[in-house]
């Protein structure tokens, strides 16, 4: 009489505990769901589509309402890409653009601006940084228009008006020095990201530590070298990593400023090529499949670089285990 009753009780308890486990399981996934859905819809699915497109011959020239006509071509697009006489030039353009912009502006100038504006009067520093945010929050079209007007041929551009004023020859800058302006225009925006990160990192160094260094006998420059820079190592590595990846994929400003020109691909970068091939080719001839192959390679380069950065900078070692013991 009591035996089956006990079994029923046990199984009821078991069921209850399973229900609880399920509930907490669903709870956790429930909270993750909104972000998860967004990642799936706006990242994973597009990536899958692009991956698939890159192995098809889909282009506006063979595009009909009958999607079945889209042919699977295997790695043909990648083969074409490797044999593309301009791919090599564009590849090195990209490396040049990323390296120079990153090293001169996004990291170095950002660091200099942060250090300067944290060593002067607080409100002046704040104002200066606020001004430098403007390029980032201005619409790229407006921002690039400003630069185009600045660099325009005499007598319109401000730079050339200075040249005339000083009795110097005038230039069509975007044709004579396109790279200088591609780098400067992007760098000007790029600085503000590192500037914000570095400034907040510097400001969060305890005041006692900064005072201690001065009392210990350092000059302000020595304090930057021996105390401030080592203490903002993590943000520094983060900015290098993040900005490399974001420069690799940025093309809007270049498209608006030079559109990869002048001439054949003088300032064309990889992500701009992907766009040009897939969406904005000559005579409306959009090679969606071929363009996707460019995009896929860019993603792969980005992933590889991210992994390398994480290994080289040893992000995991930046957190040390404490070994506190009693006195």
């Amino acid at each position: 009489m009591s035996e089956p009753n006990a079994t029923a009780k046990t199984s009821a308890a078991l069921l209850q505990s399973r229900r609880n486990a399920l509930r907490s399981y669903l709870g956790a996934y429930g909270f993750m769901a909104p972000a998860g859905v967004l990642v799936i819809i706006f990242f994973l699915i597009p990536v899958a589509i692009v991956l698939y497109l890159s192995v098809t011959n889909l282009a506006s020239s063979n595009f009909t309402s009958n999607l079945a006509k889209m042919e699977f071509v295997g790695l043909k697009n990648y083969e074409t890409l490797l044999n593309d006489q301009f791919a090599r030039k564009i590849f090195f353009n990209t490396i040049f653009y990323v390296l120079v912009t990153l090293s001169l502006f996004n990291v170095t100038l950002a660091l200099i601006v942060s250090l300067l504006t944290t060593h002067i009067d607080r409100s002046a520093g704040f104002l200066f940084r606020a001004l430098w945010i403007l390029p980032r929050i201005t619409s790229p079209v407006v921002y690039i228009l400003i630069w185009k007007r600045m660099t325009a041929e005499a007598p319109f551009g401000i730079l050339n008006q200075f040249n005339e004023f000083l009795g110097q020859p005038t230039y069509n800058y975007l044709s004579t020095n396109p790279w200088v302006f591609v780098v400067v225009v992007n760098g000007f925006i790029g600085v503000s990201f590192g500037m914000i990160i570095f400034t907040s990192a510097i400001e969060s160094i305890p005041k006692d530590l900064l005072n201690a260094s001065l009392v210990d006998g350092s000059s302000r420059l020595q304090r930057i070298r021996y105390v401030i820079l080592p203490l903002i190592r993590w943000p520094l590595l983060f900015v290098v990593t993040y900005q490399t990846l974001s420069l690799l994929t940025s093309f809007v400003e270049i498209q608006l400023l030079t559109d990869g020109g002048p001439g054949l691909y003088r300032t064309e970068v990889w992500s701009l090529t992907a766009y040009h091939r897939a969406l904005s080719n000559y005579f409306g001839n959009a090679q969606w499949g071929y363009g996707s192959a460019f995009a896929v390679l860019l993603v792969m380069i980005g992933v590889v670089l991210a992994v390398i950065y994480m290994r080289v900078f040893r992000f995991d070692e930046l957190i040390a285990e404490p070994r506190v013991e009693a006195l």
Binding site: L209, V215, G217
Partner: protein
């Protein structure tokens, strides 16, 4: 190194940190700046360190005016409440940092760091990082770093506040011992009057940016010049009571409601001359529970401290803190007679809060 501060004022915009401070510190002296938070003691210390520039006034180290001298050119050592160790450096590198900035040769650095570390008892921790040490160990490292460059002046900014009570007691003794041995002029900022009393040769009591008193600990305790000093120095704090002092039967009497306390001529005469009531101060140890006490009251609460009982006794509307022998086993609600040792009573002007006895 003799330090002379003359009419020092430091303002931050409209906010006054320190106002018109004049203080002369002798060579080798251990001086404590004592006061509640926001009293200007740390501001003064950082101005001495050269982190802040004085708004007005002169600071002299020996004969040299150091108002605009950079911290690095002052040869000072400083210990912070937060220890302020460089987290990215090992303990060795932390202590060696001042020597490295002086461009001392590597072997000299090595030797001096080890010597200081051994004195501080942290010799075996040199390859650790600050995050791997306990608070007490970190404070020793901070002290070692301050001492390693053989400074002319040592500045302490509440160095023991973050330590637990037992460790604080040990470090208090060690710092005092070290300071006396090395004979380095030292300034020690604290809000803990026990620390100031036990360690300092002289104490500068500050409140609201102003110097209240600058005297030896005993002097501050026995002859406080202001009511603030009387109330801040001493634990448990002094009892205060508004009284009228008048002449009676050839002596003086301090009276408040039912309380009538006879005062000797020496202490009774100055307050008696004051028009109106004055503030009387009496320390807990100068009130005893005795059968022949002058004032009848009731025990409100008893707080056992182990060695003695802290008793809050009420007489009408007035409350008195006093200390009593634990063996007497006083209980709350008990009716007692209180005896006041009026030879120790202090009297203050209620308006200016200055002592009527010691000015």
């Amino acid at each position: 190194m003799e330090i002379r501060i003359d009419n020092l004022t430091k303002k931050f915009g409209d906010v006054v940190g320190v106002e018109d401070l004049t203080l002369h510190i002798d060579d080798g002296e251990f001086v404590a700046f004592l006061g509640p938070s926001g009293c200007g003691k740390t501001t003064t210390l950082l101005t001495l360190a050269g982190i802040y520039k004085p708004t007005e006034g002169l600071i002299r180290f020996g004969d040299r005016v150091v108002n605009t001298v950079q911290p690095k050119d002052r040869n000072i050592g400083m210990v912070f409440q937060s220890y302020a160790l460089y987290p990215h450096m090992t303990i060795f590198q932390n202590i060696a940092y001042p020597l490295k900035l002086k461009k001392a040769p590597k072997n000299v650095q090595n030797e001096q760091v080890r010597q200081v570390a051994n004195v501080m008892g942290i010799g075996e921790l040199l390859d650790r990082r600050p995050g791997q040490l306990s608070g007490g160990q970190q404070q020793r490292v901070a002290l070692g770093r301050a001492l390693v460059k053989e400074p002319d002046v040592l500045l302490f900014d509440e160095p023991l506040s973050n330590l637990d009570a037992r460790l604080r007691l040990t470090m208090r003794g060690e710092i005092k011992h070290l300071q006396k041995n090395l004979g380095i002029t030292s300034i020690y900022v604290t809000h803990d009057q026990v620390e100031a009393m036990t360690m300092a040769d002289r104490i500068a009591v500050m409140n609201l940016g102003q110097l209240q008193a600058f005297d030896a600990p005993d002097e501050l305790y026995d002859r406080p010049k202001t009511r603030f000093v009387a109330g801040f120095v001493g634990n448990p704090p002094m009892n205060f009571l508004d009284v009228d002092v008048s002449q009676s039967n050839g002596g003086f009497v301090a009276a408040a409601d039912s309380i009538q306390l006879p005062v000797g001529n020496e202490r009774g005469e100055p307050p008696a001359g004051y028009d109106g009531s004055v503030v009387m101060g009496i320390r807990p140890e100068d009130i005893t529970i005795a059968d022949d006490g002058d004032v009848n009251g009731e025990i409100f609460v008893v707080e056992p401290l182990g060695r003695e009982d802290l008793i809050d006794a009420r007489v009408g509307p007035h409350s008195f803190i006093l200390l009593a022998d634990t063996e007497k086993q006083h209980r709350a609600g008990e009716r007692v007679a209180l005896k006041f040792d009026m030879t120790q009573a202090q009297f203050f002007d209620p308006q200016t809060e200055r002592s009527l006895l010691w000015n």
